[in-house]
Amino acid sequence: MQKIGVFVCHCGTNIAATVDVKAVAEALGREPSVAVSTDYPYMCSESGQNLIKDAIREHALDGVVICSCSPRMHENTFRKAAAQAGLNPYMVEIANIREQCSWIHKDKEEATEKAIILGRAAIAKVLLNAPLTAGESPVTKRALVIGGGIAGIQTALDIAEAGFPVDIVEKEPTIGGKMAQLDKTFPTLDCAACILTPKMVDCAQNENIRILSFSEVEAVSGFVGNFTVKIRRKARYVDETKCTGCGLCTEKCPVKKVPNEFNLGMDQRRAVYIPFAQAVPKVARIDPDWCNMLKNGKCGLCSKICTVGAIDYKQQDTILEEQYGAIVAATGYEPIKVDRYDEYAYTQSKDVITSLEFERLTNAAGPTSGTLLRPSDGRHPHTIVFIQCVGSRCTPEKGKTYCSKICCMYTAKHAMLTREKYPDTDVYVFYIDVRTPGKNFDEFYRRAAEEYGVHYIKGAVGKVAPRADGTLDVQGSDLLMNEQLHIRADLVVLAAAIEPSKTARPLATMLTASMDTNDFFTEAHPKLRPVESPTAGIFLSGACQGPKDIPETVSQASACAAKVIGLLAKDKLTGNPCVAHSDEWMCNGCSNCASVCPYGAITYEDRDFRMPDRTTKTRRVAIVNPAVCQGCGACTVACPSGAMDLYGFSNSQIMAEVDAICK
């Protein structure tokens, strides 16, 4: 006869306010096999856990049921407590009487009755529990970082520093990401390239880091500690091992009118190009959409001029297959397209630009060498209007629902830098709120308004209309003066919302990592586990998890690295013991199970069976590899003979739960 202990938690008033916990403990105490049934205000506290441990020892309990909050919260806590008292940790079941009972019902009688039923179901389940031991799997001590922006770079540097090899996969020909396109960064007004490029060079020189640039992840299989990843190394038509980055080919290339992506199409590059002067790796790339040789077989100038013979017109994509223990998603962000907001005339006037385009215009390495000029006629702008919240904080039909977080600060930066360089230029910022939550952020914004004379106007802009004389008429609200203003602007800058990179969703599917409806990667817990995905072995770094600025990105990147290092430092991982197993006597080797297993955990072996008539028969039976099995249970249902069952969620257990509920 088994002896079960039942422990009902009050959770303060969270449960006790709507569920009569004493009545529950009493009712469950009357169930057969229950040796002790008690209640306590906070079961998860040290004294609560001691209560459980003492009861296990005192009554020699075979199993424990805790009626408390969701098992997703404290299942591990109570399993550890049971283990410390000498009871197998898998002889513990949790009845969720908080999130799925006390918090969702108001009638005390109904809630109490439901809690008792849920308790009975948990008791029925634990009576059929078998003691389980977790299996072990090895850990490949190598990490993969997908994305080579500041987040990916910082994470890779930290992991390498701890002594583990890291691969950075970056889809662009160079690492650096968006930060490489910035001019100065808030709140310190450091030059972005000056603080980023040393880190990029560190990545290139660090013997633990391998940069796989101009490459993309094609397929991911495996599980935590043992991922197999296929990476496509795209053809640049230049041999990376030979190219010295001298740039001769880029000077001689006759195709000069290719829109330059690095400057957001505001100037041109050649068909063979190096993305920017500080690119890492500093290797040229030939754009097959524009190159005459690759399209028509005519030219070949770059190959003739190259002194080391690095040009290879016949280069093909190659696929690399590697093993990793941990994968980091660091795919970053993109500004949204603002064409749909026709009130701002973005598509009608060249002088209406986005903030990132403004950043390139003010950058010394940008299309105008750092002089702020109107894109339409190259004249100096005497009045600039910045418009905030373009595409952010809207209803889902009109744009993004969230606040993009970085725009208030970068607009203050743009405004301040403009006023400093061109004191004769008037700068207006139309805002709804000014959000400056970080360290020294509010002081930064106040400098813009107070010392640099930037005009901050509370109100939105309704319309930007191009005028006949080439300037723009900006019609906006001044809510504090209760007026509708018309400002004649030479340049209008839109603070466009930011969204995750378009590659994020296909990547999330490959990694089986969760995403929210905005395509940001979901974290395992929004407060307590911000850098891990719920999928074990996948970690998150940077803006792919949510909009953030550089200081936050670097913090999170290091936090992510710490988690990865914690994983890679282990020699073995204790697996999930709730795995499938096959009853050899019932299995007929039909292979239904292997065909539905997503992990390839099932193989077949010939086994000898001694029959009742003293003969020996050899049969092919299914064998589950407990290290690979993730415990989904698909095989258990596919098995036609019922030979396959799942530890922890066996057929009899679930049926017992159904019986208890329907009684």
Partner: protein
């Protein structure tokens, strides 16, 4: 099937929820204090593909009036393919049950993600209302189990 003091029919509904998405979604509706009827009890399974048609038949056999299966959205299954199997199995099963006299309204598959606490509560409320309207279920009931 249960009746309360007022002799009105209170349905017994069993919900199978997958641990990674729908169970988390149920927890989220609890965290947000969104109400739904107490006659729905949830059984946690690792994946929607764990739910054997036998379990659903057992529920009706033991007197349940409605059964709902909740899992991750197609494409988002934690085990990649589990919910696809569940979807196919339940399509066949519910068609067979309908033929046996257990109306379509008594069974449902719903995809709820871990972020959809609101959707979970709404789904449970609407399902409970539908079952209450359909009335008690007598088909397949094992009379030996009736109280």
């Amino acid at each position: 099937m249960q009746v309360n003091e007022n002799e009105t029919f209170v349905p017994t509904i069993v919900a199978f929820c997958c641990n990674w998405c729908s169970y988390a979604g149920a927890d989220l509706s609890g965290t947000n204090r969104l109400q739904y009827p107490s006659n729905i009890k949830i059984i946690r399974v690792p994946c929607s593909c764990r739910v054997n048609p036998m379990f659903i038949l057992r529920a009706f056999q033991r007197g349940a009036d409605g059964v709902i299966l909740c899992g991750c959205h197609p494409g988002d299954c934690h085990y990649t393919t589990g919910n696809y199997y569940a979807r196919r199995r339940m399509t066949l099963l519910f068609s067979m049950l309908d033929y046996l006299g257990i109306e379509r309204g008594r069974t449902r598959v719903e995809w709820v993600s871990a972020a959809e606490g609101q959707k979970f509560a709404e789904t449970m409320k609407s399902f409970a209302a539908e079952i209450a309207a359909l009335g008690p279920n007598r088909r397949l009931e094992d009379l030996r189990c009736r109280k």
